[in-house]
């Protein structure tokens, strides 16, 4: 098993897929120089500029052209540079890619991976920091994936490339360099959660980098004798309802935490689903960003963050409520 960064894990998955299938190619701005986060470094040397293709700063054309190339028989990996910029290609993704197979009565497929680096990094302000994953979960036709670890970025990138549906693949910018063990023999499946830590007292549900914060919170809670189970959903559509329901049936307590705005975030879907199916011992807690905007100055930016401390505090709050 090799130790590698979150960025390199996805790169390895892409390189292996490109060696195995000549129809897989990558397209996006600056890819010939490794991409804005160097997550493509070295690929152009192996695969050449046609398959690691530069692109004009034309997000709509990158998305639209990749879709056309997918309908013509290739399997594109689309780089959007920042999830925020992908909004320039919203028609192409939402009105075209997500709907084509259905509208055309099953005549077409869009086997595409759409990489959208997401989330708060450092002082990148309101147009380079957003977490908009819940938008895409709302669009039938799309698969939505938010890996949090190098292992999951490897296995899920491989799954995404193999998938015949369009996959919105949101990698978190703050963990590109985070290292971890990667077992290349492992395979991943959408809709299968990663149980990051087991526990019997409270269930913490999360995804993307906030799942890592949940693990830190669970470690802190363990010091206080509280067993927190951390469910990293990994993919949001489909999502592993069964794992969440099974866990909360045992623990009776739920905290859902995510970096995106709490209002109408995917956490609401998780809480609603649990509420429909399980009688909890304590009211569930939903943690997300305030419905404010992400600022440049660190003291302002930090007010939009969900922290490990906040997650641990929320878990403890659920422990305070005695069963009725």
């Amino acid at each position: 098993m090799a130790v590698m960064s979150y960025a390199d894990a996805a790169k390895l998955a892409i390189a292996e897929a490109m060696r195995a299938d000549p129809t897989v190619w990558c397209v996006g701005e600056d890819l010939g120089r490794g991409g804005v986060f160097k997550q493509y470094t070295g690929l152009v040397e192996e695969f050449g500029p046609d398959r690691i293709s530069d692109a004009p700063i034309s997000e709509a054309a990158i998305m639209g052209a990749a879709f056309g190339a997918a309908m013509a028989g290739t399997r594109p990996i689309v780089e959007m540079r920042f999830a925020d910029f992908a909004l320039c290609a919203t028609d192409e993704l939402v009105n075209q890619i997500a709907k084509a197979r259905f509208m055309f009565g099953g005549q077409s497929r869009a086997p595409m991976v759409i990489r959208k680096p997401m989330g708060m990094w450092r002082s990148s302000a309101a147009q380079h920091s957003q977490s908009l994953e819940s938008w895409y979960v709302h669009i039938p036709g799309l698969v939505v994936c938010c890996p949090a670890t190098p292992q999951d970025n490897y296995t899920m990138m491989k799954a995404a490339i193999a998938c015949d549906d369009p996959v919105v693949y949101l990698e978190h910018k703050d963990i590109w360099l985070t290292e971890g063990e990667v077992d290349t023999a492992r395979t991943g499946a959408f809709g299968k959660a990663n149980i990051r830590r087991e526990g019997e007292d409270v269930t913490l549900v999360s995804w993307s980098n906030t799942a890592n914060l949940c693990v830190a919170a669970a470690e802190a809670l363990a010091q206080e004798g509280i067993g927190a189970e951390v469910i990293d959903l990994v993919s949001l559509w489909p999502w592993d309802k069964a794992a969440v329901l099974e866990s909360v049936r045992r623990t009776g307590r739920l905290v859902v935490a995510h970096e995106s705005v709490a209002v109408a975030g995917f956490g609401a879907e998780v809480v609603a689903t649990v509420a429909q199916n399980v009688m909890l011992k304590a009211p569930p807690v939903r943690l997300g960003s305030p419905r404010g905007l992400i600022a440049y100055a660190p003291n302002l930016e930090d007010q939009m963050r969900v922290t490990a401390e906040m997650i641990a505090a929320a878990a403890k709050k659920t422990m305070e409520t005695e069963p009725a």
Partner: protein, 331 residues
Amino acid sequence: MTLSNFDQEKGLARLHLMERIRAFEEAARRAAVDEGLVLGAIHLSIGQEAVAAAVIEPLRRDDYILSTHRGHGHTLAKGADATAMMKELLGREGGCCGGKGGSMHIADFGVRMLGANGVVGANITIAAGAAHGIKLLGGDQIVVCFFGDGAANRGPFLEGVNWAGVFDLPILFVCEDNQYSASTLTSDMTSGDVAERARALGLRTTQADGNDVTGLAATAAEITARIRETGKPEFLHAKTYRLSGHTYFDPATYRPEGEADHMRETACPIMRLRTDLTRAGVTEGEMDALRQAAAEEMAAALDAARAAPWPADDSVFADVQDIGSPVEEAF
């Protein structure tokens, strides 16, 4: 054009195709107005048939086209089955998209017609991408992308045409200029000249009379042969005129009084071709027989569509996605 070099056989084939397109749309309009069978909006290309007939004529079956919300003519010209198309307009089982798309999303991948599009201009980047895919796969097909004059004012025009130029892609962009953006005169909303825009983006650009099917077919044959040889994109600006409203229920009262009538009498591409064929010695009877055959074909297509059942209820959840499919979980 002289009588001696006029290819009667090709002329009659073009006339038949244009009559078929017109008969299809007239039948669809009757089905909508008289019987309420066409449920959603349909956008008729009556008066614009020469562009579809001429530009698609030199294409091979494995070449691709992409079309617009006004796409019946292009789809028929590429070889799609009229009955399956009519069923689609009526939302019936056996429609080319299973009744899920209707007129605005009509597609027949079997003849490499990669879809009409409900969003103006959206097909331009997708078409460039289809050509990109061909190039990556080492194919020798070409792509023709039809869009209207209004689409030239959307961002995908710049992004898609630039893309094709940057990557040297085998694609012909066809601006089928019917002069109206829905109810608005396009010239009132367009700064500069559309063909000049394409030229500025580095594309070889041709301007043509879009209602002269004979001349346009010769032009299209020359351009498409060049694209196949060079692999480089080109741009064709074909000026035509929309004889109907934006939709079949649009009376188009915003047009100057008498404009459409004048164009119908002087510029209709079917009428113009008939005039040429008459000069070349074709009889009225021969031409009327083609019109009659087209009308009968489309009446039969409508009959078949009328008799077809609705799609199976549970097909609504099919072909959304494999992973996380609503067949397994719609809510």
